[in-house]
């Protein structure tokens, strides 16, 4: 997903410079605000696809900034960055109007994946389609039926949810923690490779026996489902 407009509201100049550079390298437009009030004004008046807001900011703290924007009916998706990674801090952040939460320190690949998913959520104002299609793979969300090239594939309920999430974000990188959050509703760090095993099971169901693989592992980041032939 190229060319998102991202506003980074972060008082640590070095971290902000690193983020700005990294997002530009990934093909996006990134602006930077160094304190809460500047960030608030820029977010309110500008057109951004995603805001990245640090929780602790000078002049106006991150949560107040988000609350203020939401009151002004600015519905730009917000990802909160925070040094506080505890369960209740995340809940507080989301309650204040944030859309996603990432604890520092984080991997840039994780941040990028989450920001891209958030930005697309905004792009697609329309209702989700009832059938997801990637290559020859079709997932019918009403009948919960999965077919590839017309051949039906049987699935467990959790495999269905896993695949549904991947296909909803087809063409986008989805990280392991995003999968654990959205498919299992847990936010902890699953120290071992539990998610990888689930993915390899799913892969053996949808890709085995077909020429083009659809479920790809993105090294150092996560997974992506996409039509490999394109």
């Amino acid at each position: 997903m190229p060319d998102m407009r991202i506003l980074i509201i972060e008082d640590d100049v070095e971290a902000a410079a690193y983020l700005t550079k990294a997002f530009r390298e990934a093909g996006h437009v990134a602006d930077h605000a160094a304190d809460g009030l500047d960030g608030y004004a820029m977010a309110r008046d500008g057109t951004y696809d995603v805001l990245i807001v640090d929780r602790m900011l000078p002049k106006l703290d991150g949560l107040s900034l988000i609350g203020g924007l939401r009151e002004q009916k600015v519905e730009t998706p917000v990802l909160i960055l925070s040094a506080l990674g505890q369960v209740d801090d995340r809940v507080k952040g989301l309650r204040a109007g944030g859309d996603d939460y990432l604890a520092k320190p984080y991997a840039f690949s994780e941040l990028l994946a989450r920001v891209e998913v958030l930005a697309r959520r905004r792009g697609n104002g329309a209702a989700e389609p009832t059938v997801y299609r990637v290559g020859g793979l079709e997932l019918d969300r009403l009948s919960h039926k999965l077919t590839r090239n017309g051949r039906e594939i049987a699935m467990q309920p959790r495999e269905y949810r896993l695949l549904e999430y991947l296909m909803k974000h087809a063409g986008q990188v989805v990280t392991r923690t995003m999968l654990l959050e959205n498919v299992w509703d847990y936010h902890f760090d699953p120290q071992t490779n539990v998610i990888d095993v689930h993915i390899s099971r799913l892969r053996s169901k949808i890709d085995k026996g077909f020429d083009t693989p659809l479920l790809h592992t993105i090294r150092g980041a996560g997974y992506m489902i996409r039509d490999g032939s394109r």
């Binding site: 106006l60 107040s64 990674g85 369960v87 309650r95 760090d189 120290q191 071992t192």
Partner: protein, 485 residues
């Protein structure tokens, strides 16, 4: 402030003084009331006696005229303890009686009157009497009365009693107040001294108890309990920082050595790339340890408790089991999940889920045994009701833990011999313990004969629970600048 000044300022002394005033007013009121009633009673009796005599004397007069009256009056005045009598002409000239003189005009007002009078042997009117004046047919005046000396004596005695007792009351009350105040003050001073020592850093000291179990003792007991808790938390904090210092240094050293090594020996970009990737991996594992430590410390401090809601442990167990099932299968371990339905508890699903996941993770890692077909395991995840508790049990058939090591293994960073080569921070079990404690439960380690069995017991939700808290608690934003458009 002087010692006496301090004494006068104590609550005990001020209270004593206030009680003293209230008590003195009360005593005065009681004595006054009694004196008043006694006076009334005496007056009543006197007037009854007088009336009876008047009736008698007027009858004598009716029957025998003034002669007879004078005769009877003279008879009566000679008796001991006699009443007072006076018979005069209409002009006031004394005919008979034992009263020398009454104030002028008194005899012209018939009825009951309190008046001064003069005895015949005295020069002035020095006594008081209650008398009834009666005008007889024919203009003679008859006065019959009783001396009020007794009543006066009673009044004086009462008054003196009041003043004396008030004097004693004030003396005893003040002394008592000072005594009580001094006792209280001495104990409070003792507590203050201990508190100052504690503030100065001697956290092992406790407030002194008198052993009387009074309100001061109970206060001291509670403050001591508070100090115990603070000391416990401080010790925990110190332990955490010691452990952080000790156990983060190992991976930090490895990280640093790796980077240094690469700088010194790597030649190709590929080698540098591999070294950098290794560095990132090492720092990720450091971050993971650090997060786990912070979380444990926070849980032990009682944080994260405000996100409690009612949830089903059985569902959580099935979710976690299902999350780990493919991994177990890949590692040649059978993961069996048994969950009774309807295990509602009040808690943080996220935290208990993580604790359970840690136990399953451990069982998969350490619970395998060597078989003919390689490493194999048999792990059971059970959620069930046990009395007033919900138990989450994770058991394996692996080597288990020796009884001596079972308590030790709950400590942070403890990894028993033989497990050090495998990945892990050694914090999984400590986190499970902290989560369990936060929920008012208990974690125990048992022998699965063979193998290890870890049980988390959590109190069942009480029936009339508040259900999941409403998510309407809005964040109150700070003041925002006006829109500038």
């Amino acid at each position: 402030m002087t010692a006496l000044g301090k004494l006068f300022r104590t609550t005990a002394f001020k209270l004593s003084l206030a009680y003293l005033v209230v008590f003195a007013i009360g005593a005065g009121l009681v004595l006054g009331r009694i004196a008043w009633n006694v006076k009334g009673l005496i007056d009543e009796q006197i007037s009854q006696t007088i009336d009876a005599e008047i009736t008698g004397l007027s009858e004598q007069y009716t029957q025998g005229g003034i002669r007879r009256l004078v005769y009877v009056v003279e008879q009566r005045t000679r008796q001991p303890g006699a009443s007072l009598y006076l018979v005069t002409t209409f002009a006031g000239q004394t005919i008979a009686g034992n009263i020398g003189d009454l104030p002028p005009g008194t005899l012209d007002r018939p009825g009951l009157t309190e008046t001064a009078y003069r005895r015949p042997d005295e020069a002035e009117a020095r006594h008081r009497a209650l008398a009834r004046i009666f005008i007889l047919p024919g203009g003679f005046r008859l006065a019959v009365g009783r001396d009020l000396g007794d009543r006066e004596t009673l009044r004086v005695v009462m008054g003196r009693a009041l003043i004396t007792s008030l004097g004693w009351l004030i003396v005893i009350g003040t002394l008592g107040g000072l005594f009580v105040a001094r006792r209280v003050l001495r104990r409070v001073d003792g507590m203050n001294a201990s508190a100052r020592n504690i503030m100065n850093g001697d956290l092992s000291q406790r407030l002194p108890l008198a052993g009387s179990n009074d309100e001061l003792d109970r206060l001291a007991i509670n403050l001591n309990a508070m100090l115990d808790r603070i000391a416990e938390l401080m010790a925990g904090l110190k332990e955490v920082s010691d452990n952080i210092a000790h156990d983060l240094k190992t991976p930090l050293t490895r990280l640093r050595n790796g980077a240094e090594q690469a700088l010194r020996t790597a030649k190709s970009p590929e080698e540098y790339r591999a070294a950098i990737e290794q560095t990132i991996e090492d720092s990720d594992s450091l971050i993971r340890i650090f997060n786990a430590l912070l979380m444990i410390a926070r849980l032990e401090a009682g944080g994260t408790g405000d996100e409690m809601a009612v949830f089903d442990v059985a569902e959580m167990a099935r979710d976690v089991g299902e999350l780990y099932e493919p991994l177990a299968e890949e590692e040649g371990t059978i993961l069996a999940i048994e969950a009774e339905p309807g295990l509602q508890i009040l808690g943080n699903r996220e935290l208990i889920g993580q604790a359970t996941a840690n136990l399953v993770d451990n069982a998969l890692k350490y619970g395998r045994t060597e078989t003919a077909a390689g490493l194999a395991g048999d792990v059971r995840l059970v959620a069930r009701k046990a009395g007033a508790n919900v138990e989450i049990e994770v058991s394996d058939r692996g080597p288990g833990i020796a009884p001596d090591d079972r308590a030790r293994v709950l400590d942070r960073f403890v990894r028993l011999e033989g497990s050090r080569s495998r990945p892990g921070s050694g914090l999984g079990l400590s986190l499970a313990v902290a989560v369990t404690k936060l929920h008012g439960g208990a974690l125990r380690i048992e022998d699965n004969q063979p193998g290890l069995r870890v049980v988390i017991a959590l109190p069942l939700a009480k029936l009339k629970l508040k259900s999941a808290p409403e998510r309407d608690e809005r964040y109150v934003p700070q003041a925002l600048p006006e829109a500038t458009t």
